[in-house]
């Protein structure tokens, strides 16, 4: 359920550094309604430990009937307003098959297979798919080129009810993608991503449920530099700091092996009927080794990150009332550093503190009439980054107020239309090489849904434009089309 399904939400999440509440990203309904993702309810943002807490143990308790889903999305990004290593154009498409099977009163499975195709056109310098990943190392050369990453993403979740109070679950996700650069240096990139997660939930009482998850993520990223027949080595520069790169004249593959341990604790509290809280706190430990794939492995550098996160959502709705109020807050506090592999000296050091808080209100007068919601949030960030090799220090603060408005109108029992608006004022004060400069993001979304007893068909279109505040930087447009069909199997 973690495959990014809506650029609109994903870009905001990535830009802000929040760990998204990933499950809800798959919900085209939320995308169509301006990504009003807390106060409006879709299939994947219900108040439970699976949807909002990402705990596989609660899948069984979610108690949904068996279903099968086929989903397709196509995204297009164009425009000159971008960061140094961002592609000039992105064409992405994915097709996904997912389904849930409730075997009996104790076992539930959820499986999903996605096949994706991400075409990155005109990527300057970067010989990586994600040059702006958390680690500071970017493999580069002096030219531009394009990539077409494609591959499968397989995700399986199993949930078991052990007793009336105790559930356990496990998740295994495997992603494999590869691409060959279409220009010099014609590097071949292979990424293998393995995520395993185990979770437990425990009902302390009818009012309090708690859960804990442990996740292990392992990413292997290999970049092969082809040896040309004329003996030339097309890669001239390699990572090490932002300002100064290591000169490289060898063609050995470059490997990045990343390990990520996460432990998270969730609490679902329902002190009274009209009030419910969900609180999640997590600790992440992340480290990465860079090395050449020569016969005698040459270690290049080491990177380590410690990160603490929290997510809070509180919902108030009086029984029978059409109004729902929500308050939410997300925090992400991390510090990381990298060092020379052999020498006890720091190469880079970085700290990131992100905080987002907001309020939401929704109104739904009745079933299958209409519903509307609004959310306002303020995100703030405080980033510091030091490149000790290049003698460069960066310091930046972010303030990003955002308004999201969305609604759904039911023409009749089977047909509804959704629309939404998203406005975000992204203010960057300072300088940070991996962040966009200040801009205004304006988004519009539209959706159409056809409900039947046995199936659901949805069509969603999302458009967003990023307008920089400084003149002469161009703009960036994102457009996404989603087709979703869901079949009830019961």
């Amino acid at each position: 359920m973690k495959k990014i399904g809506c650029l609109f939400v994903a870009f905001a999440a990535i830009a802000f550094g929040f760990r998204p509440l990933a499950a809800q990203l798959d919900d085209p309904h939320l995308c169509a309604m301006g990504s009003v993702r807390y106060v409006l309810t879709g299939d994947w943002n219900r108040f439970n430990l699976f949807d909002l807490g990402n705990n596989p143990a609660w899948l069984h308790e979610k108690n949904t009937p068996d279903w099968l889903r086929i989903w397709n999305n196509n995204g297009y990004t164009r425009g000159n307003f971008r960061r140094l290593y961002d592609p000039a154009k992105i064409n992405s498409s994915a097709i996904s098959f997912a389904g849930t099977k409730r075997l009996n009163e104790k076992h539930t499975f959820l499986g999903r297979v996605t096949y994706f195709n991400d075409q990155l056109i005109g990527v300057p310098f970067a010989l990586e798919k994600n040059p702006y990943a958390a680690d500071p190392f970017i493999l580069t050369d002096s030219s531009s080129g394009g990539y077409r990453f494609w591959g499968p993403d397989i995700d399986v979740i199993y949930s078991r009810k052990l007793s009336n109070r105790f559930n356990m679950g496990a998740e295994l996700q495997y992603t494999l993608d590869s691409a060959v650069r279409d220009e010099e240096a014609m590097v071949r990139i292979v990424q293998r991503n393995l995520i395993s997660r185990i979770g437990f939930t425990f009902k302390l009482s009818g009012l309090v449920t708690t859960g804990v998850t442990y996740s292990y993520k392992n990413l292997f990223d290999m970049t092969e530099v082809p040896k040309r027949q004329d003996g030339r080595v097309p890669v001239t520069y390699r990572y090490r700091g932002y300002i100064i790169s290591r000169r490289e004249l060898k063609t050995y593959p470059r490997n990045a092996m990343s390990f990520h341990h996460v432990i998270e604790n969730q609490w679902l509290l329902k002190p009274v009927n009209s009030l419910v809280f969900l609180l999640q706190a997590g600790y992440h430990f992340h480290y990465l080794d860079l090395y050449d794939g020569s016969s005698v492995r040459y270690y290049e550098a080491y990177w380590q990150q410690n990160e603490a996160t929290f997510n809070f959502i509180g919902k108030y709705s009086r029984p029978g009332s059409p109004w729902v109020c929500i308050g939410f807050a997300n925090g992400n506090f991390s510090s990381d550093w990298s060092k020379h592999y052999r020498l006890p000296v720091l190469i880079t050091e970085q700290s990131k503190n992100d905080l987002e808080y907001g309020l939401g209100i929704s109104f739904q007068p009745g079933h299958h009439v209409y519903r509307m919601g609004a959310e306002i949030s303020v995100g703030s960030g405080d980033y510091r980054f030091s490149d000790y090799i290049g003698h460069a220090d960066f310091d930046a603060k972010i303030l990003a107020p955002e308004i999201r408005l969305g609604g759904e109108y039911f023409f009749n029992e089977i047909l509804s239309a959704q629309a939404g608006v998203q406005l975000r004022d992204y203010r960057l004060n300072g300088e940070m090489p991996y962040l966009l400069s200040s801009n205004l993001q304006n988004g519009l979304s539209f959706g159409l849904s056809l409900y039947q007893e046995k199936y659901l068909l949805e069509f969603v279109a999302v458009f967003r434009r990023d307008n920089p505040k400084a003149p002469g930087l161009g703009q960036r447009n994102h457009f996404e089309l989603i087709l979703n069909s869901k079949f009830n199997l019961h």
């Binding site: 004329d230 030339r232 090799i389 003698h391």
Partner: protein
């Protein structure tokens, strides 16, 4: 559950204990102090300091691992200080021309200095002195054209008269240096060479002039090589051609020959495609040993050592060339290397030479 939870927590803590300790020191704080001194008598010994400092000599440090290069001039004490360096091995090169015209001398020295474990490296460079010649090697094309057929027969050496008087090529020897790591290269008073080809005429004779600002191209084979490999060099109009009369070399009768003087080396003037050195000497003196020809330093007019990698060990004395031309130039790339400006010579090819995407025989 309550009993298991501490175990799970302990397991997790053990996992994260795999992390490393954050170092206390930061990179980019190293320093290299270079003192440049003269022991040849060109500069006077300072009675207070007790040595002969060379002021205003350009000192260049080039990281072997990183794309980083910095240069400074020494102060009156002959001292150049480089601060805020990152951990790396650096090639340190000092070079300065003194005097003018026929009395122009070059003082140069080079050394590898590393700052890994220690924060400050202190070293002294003792400069050697070399007489600057009016006739220099201006371009060497050795890599061969882009091809899969191992074709490199369009190699050439280009000479240039950088003075404003006519010079003469009579008896001048063009040599390919031997490729051995000799620990005594900075002590020996000669350069060991593998092949020697000599212009006709007696050394110091005046039959074959080269005018001021004139380029002279000596081709391995004066032939239009583009007839064989499309992007190879057309050398049919070369000024001279290397000719091995002992080995049955192909000869263009319209182009005069620079002849092999070693009957035991029956090959054309072929030089290494990655790392080698070419030397020109006035031809007045040389000694033939079992395998090599020794060219006395006093007869050498110019020498250029080239290498694809700056980290390779020097095979020719820094008294002839303190650096490397052609760094980054790969074999069968069709690229060439020539001086930044015609005849520009500081006796350090790292500073003097640039890479060319295509060779330019007979012109800059």
């Amino acid at each position: 559950m309550n009993k298991r939870f501490p175990f799970i927590l302990l397991t997790f803590l053990l996992l994260i204990a795999c992390g490393r300790k954050k170092p206390l020191n930061i990179d980019g704080q190293a320093r290299i102090n270079i003192l440049v001194a003269d022991t040849t008598g060109t500069f006077p010994v300072d009675p207070v300091l007790g040595y002969a400092p060379i002021p205003n000599i350009k000192v260049l440090i080039q990281s072997i691992e990183y794309d980083y290069l910095e240069s400074k001039e020494t102060d009156k004490y002959g001292l150049a200080i480089f601060d805020d360096l990152f951990a790396s091995e650096y090639k340190v090169i000092a070079s300065r021309n003194v005097g003018k015209g026929a009395y122009e001398l070059n003082m140069s020295a080079t050394k590898d200095v590393e700052v890994y474990q220690r924060r400050t490296a202190v070293d002294t460079l003792y400069c050697s002195v070399a007489k600057m010649s009016g006739l220099v090697i201006n371009e060497i094309y050795y890599a061969g054209p882009v091809n899969n057929a191992y074709y490199f027969y369009d190699q050439f050496v280009e000479l240039y008269n950088r003075t404003n008087t006519t010079l003469y090529l009579d008896g001048i020897i063009v040599s390919r240096a031997s490729q051995t790591i000799n620990p005594n290269i900075e002590i020996n008073d000669y350069v060991e060479t593998l092949y020697c080809f000599q212009f006709p005429g007696k050394p110091l004779g005046k039959q074959y002039p080269i005018q001021p600002g004139q380029f002279v191209v000596i081709a391995q084979d004066a032939f239009d090589h583009s007839k064989v490999i499309a992007n190879a060099v057309d050398l049919s109009n070369a000024d001279w051609e290397f000719y091995d009369g002992y080995g049955g070399d192909w000869d263009n009768f319209d182009v005069p020959n620079v002849n092999n003087i070693r009957p035991d080396k029956t090959v054309d003037f072929m030089i290494n495609l990655v790392h080698n050195a070419v030397v020109i000497s006035d031809g007045t003196e040389y000694t033939v040993t079992d395998n090599y020809v020794r060219i006395p330093l006093s007869t050498i007019l110019d020498g250029v050592e080239y290498s694809k990698s700056a980290s390779r060990s020097k095979e020719m004395t820094t008294r002839v060339d303190a650096g490397f031309a052609g760094v980054g130039l790969a074999k069968y790339s069709g690229q060439s290397t020539q001086r930044i400006e015609p005849g520009y010579d500081s006796n350090n090819s790292t500073l003097d030479f640039i890479l060319l995407d295509h060779p330019t025989p007979g012109r800059q």
